[in-house]
Structure formats: structure tokens, C-alpha cells
């Protein structure tokens, strides 16, 4: 894809030390860090085809190479992740140049996120968002008892691979509640209900950017994304916050706020 090549070359010439995007290595799409404008690797760069947790990779890169500046090819979800991570002080946006890639209409439909494009689009055409609420609606239609049964059934498939957490761009804790024996009993598969999945859902509240990598990584097809999506809906409805959207607005769960806010909250409930 010629124009991505040009973009990479251009950014590298503009003084970023490296460009993070995908490349096709003998038919395998994988993230690659291009550091040299003239490297033959440049011929292999790819825009789409697969998604990887670029945010997660950048946390390490920015920390490992404190003097370096990076450019990265971002989709809407990657951008949201990086924005939220910067609020959580995990990435330094000043050392980051985001090159926007809009998801194709087909990708957008398949994915169903609320914003399948970044704030600035360098590549591709802005496609209509096709937010998917089917699962949420299905669950909400159920009675409480049925809901519980439904989720228990879903979670009962969990093999505790921890993939949802490992792949999540927003998970950076050095010590994870999911590995706290008080909360998640070691060696028990599937994990007890509600501990594992509810704890993760709660930690995702005001954090999850709806990239869907968790669900993609889940070998048991647990509808994690719908669970976390619902948490974001709750967050937005109750505390008026959506993760990853505005860079200067922080999650209400990360500051005390004013008495008025709380009184309002109390009145509304």
C-alpha cells in the first residue's frame, strides 16, 4: 500500500525515531517498528488485515527509550487507547505522532464500535459507525434469574487463559486483582462466578475503549466486549464519562469532584 509507505518515510524524515505499524512477513501480518527510511522493510508495511494492541507495545517502547519519538498507525480504537493511557500517565503523547487510519465499512460493520475512525484520518475513508448492542439487548430482555443463568453459562466456558487481560491495551497493572488468591482461587477452572469476570468488568469501567481485542483473543467466545460495553454505557449514563474520547476530561472515578456533583448523582438515582 504505497501511501502508507510514503507516510512512514515522511514521518521518519520529519524526525520521529521509529514508526510502528503492521508488515507482511511471508504472509504473516505482525506489528513492526520501522526505524530507517531506506530499509527494505518499508516495502512490507501494511495498513489493515489484523489488529494488535499498539498501545500496549508503545507503553514498553516509550518507557524503554525515554529519548525517542515514535509515530504509530492508529485506528479509532488505538487512538482512544492511547488517549486514555496518557490520562493514566502510561504513555507520553508529546513523544507520539498518531497517523490515522479509518476502518473500512466492512470492518466497521464487523467490529461494531462507536467510532471506527480516529480524530484525524490520513488513510482510508471514514465509514459509518454501526454500534452493536444485540447481545446487551438480548441480556437486558431477560429476567434477573435468567440473566444470571445466561452469564454463568457464558463464563463457565472460561479456561482462564488470561488472554482478555493480556491483550488489553488498557491493562498495565504490575499486580493484577485477577491473580489475587483472595479474589480468584488459583487452579480453579472455570473461575468462580462472579469474581474473575466481574472484577475485570469493574476495572474496565471508565477505561475500556471498546477495541474488542479481548473478545478476539478469547478462545471460549465469551461475549466480553458486550459486558465491558455495558459498563461504559453505565459509566456514561451515571457519571457522564466515556473513556478515550476527550484528552483533557478524566474519569470521575479518578478524582473526588464537588459536593454538587454528588448531590446531583444522589438526586438522580
Amino acid at each position: 500500500m504505497s501511501d502508507l509507505k510514503d507516510l512512514v518515510r515522511e514521518k521518519l524524515k520529519d524526525g520521529v525515531d521509529a514508526f510502528l505499524c503492521l508488515k507482511d512477513e511471508e504472509g504473516t501480518l505482525l506489528p513492526a517498528l520501522i526505524t530507517d527510511a531506506d530499509s527494505p522493510e518499508l516495502e512490507l508495511v501494511e495498513a489493515g488485515g489484523a489488529r494488535y494492541p499498539m498501545g500496549k507495545i508503545l507503553i514498553d517502547l516509550l518507557r524503554e527509550y525515554p529519548g525517542k519519538r515514535f509515530a504509530v498507525l492508529v485506528r479509532g480504537c488505538d487512538e482512544r487507547a492511547l488517549v486514555e493511557l496518557s490520562k493514566l500517565e502510561q504513555v507520553d503523547l508529546d513523544r507520539l505522532v498518531m497517523v490515522g487510519l479509518a476502518c473500512t465499512a466492512e470492518e466497521a460493520r464487523a467490529c461494531g464500535c462507536t467510532r471506527p475512525y480516529p480524530s484525524e484520518i490520513a488513510l482510508g475513508e471514514k465509514a459509518e459507525a454501526a454500534p452493536g448492542r444485540e447481545t446487551i439487548e438480548e441480556v437486558e430482555a431477560l429476567s434477573e434469574a435468567e440473566r444470571l443463568r445466561w452469564w454463568k453459562e457464558q463464563f463457565s466456558r472460561c479456561i482462564k487463559c488470561y488472554g482478555c487481560r493480556n491483550v488489553c491495551p488498557m491493562c498495565f497493572c504490575k499486580d493484577c486483582a485477577l491473580e489475587n488468591p483472595h479474589l480468584v482461587e488459583p487452579g480453579v477452572i472455570p473461575p468462580e462466578f462472579p469474581s474473575f469476570h466481574v472484577i475485570r468488568a469493574l476495572d474496565m469501567t471508565g477505561r475500556c475503549v471498546d477495541c474488542g481485542l479481548c473478545e478476539e483473543a478469547c478462545p471460549a467466545d465469551i461475549p466480553l466486549r458486550s459486558l465491558y460495553r455495558k459498563m461504559q454505557e453505565i459509566m456514561e449514563e451515571k457519571l457522564g464519562y466515556r473513556a478515550g474520547e476527550s484528552p483533557d476530561e478524566k474519569s470521575p472515578l479518578s478524582f473526588l469532584g464537588s459536593e454538587q456533583d454528588i448531590e446531583k448523582l444522589e438526586r438522580e438515582q
Binding site: 504473516t28 514498553d60 524503554e64 507520553d92 479456561i159 478476539e216
Partner: protein
């Protein structure tokens, strides 16, 4: 932030998980020449971007202190490092001696989940066709 002068060195190496025979596709994160992490290979025909808890941790043993890096042969009661030819020769000599003295069924072959199906096929072939015993089993039974 001040530059720590480190040369940028980061790449992902496509590989296959060695923990079992399934053969899931992994990408090993290599930073500054050290394997630092694992990602599932999205478009891998076997695992399609999913891994189990072992696969996600497959990078962890790479730099382990306790990892064997060369074959060891016991001589005079203690293990000594040696080259593969010597090691394999010792194994072949030992096996054929036992088979000759006590018959083929005195030998057992133990296959590993860490090997590919092809490797396991070859092992049982060796057992049955070369040594002549059906004593073949695999670690998944343990």
C-alpha cells in the same frame, strides 16, 4: 525525557508455541535482544489469535537460568555437558544393549506433547519398526 542512548531495537518474531502439539501461532516480542513478551498471531491458521495460559507465558522460560542448553551425559555418577553426536551415540548404544539383553519390550518410548505430531509419528515408528516394541506412551497421560 532524556535519551538513554539505547539503540532502538524491537521486533516481533513469528513462532509456534512449544507447550503442546496443537501448534498455536505466537509472536515473540524481542527488545534489546531479549525475548520480553508474547502476542497471539492473529492470522494463524491453527489458533486464530487465541492462546491458552501457557501459550501467553511461552516467552518466560526462554531466559530461565534453569534451562538446559546442551545435552548432558552421566559418567562416573555425574552429569557432564557434551555434544549431540556423543549424546545420541550414548542413547543408541544404551537402548540397543537393553533390547539385545532383555528383548525389545524391555524398552519404552515416551512421546512429548511439546513435539509436533510429525515428530511423535517418527518416535513411534522408531519404537515399532526399529526397536520392535509397542511400549509407546505420551506425557498427556500423566
Amino acid at each position: 525525557m532524556v535519551d538513554n542512548g539505547k539503540e532502538l531495537s524491537y521486533r516481533l518474531v513469528p513462532s509456534t508455541c512449544v507447550y503442546c502439539g496443537t501448534g498455536c501461532g505466537v509472536l515473540l516480542e524481542v527488545m534489546d535482544g531479549r525475548v520480553t513478551g508474547t502476542l497471539p498471531q492473529k492470522d494463524h491458521p491453527v489458533s486464530w489469535g487465541a492462546l491458552c495460559v501457557k501459550g501467553w507465558a511461552v516467552h518466560e522460560f526462554v531466559h530461565s537460568e534453569r534451562r538446559l542448553t546442551a545435552p548432558l551425559v552421566r559418567s562416573g555418577g555425574e552429569l557432564k555437558e557434551t555434544d549431540w553426536d556423543t549424546a545420541l551415540a550414548a542413547v543408541a548404544e544404551g537402548l540397543s544393549r537393553v533390547a539385545k539383553e532383555h528383548g525389545p519390550d524391555a524398552v519404552g518410548f515416551f512421546a512429548s506433547a511439546r513435539c509436533t505430531n510429525e515428530e511423535n509419528y517418527l518416535l513411534q515408528k522408531l519404537a515399532r519398526a526399529v526397536v520392535g516394541t509397542n511400549n509407546v506412551d505420551h506425557c498427556a497421560r500423566l
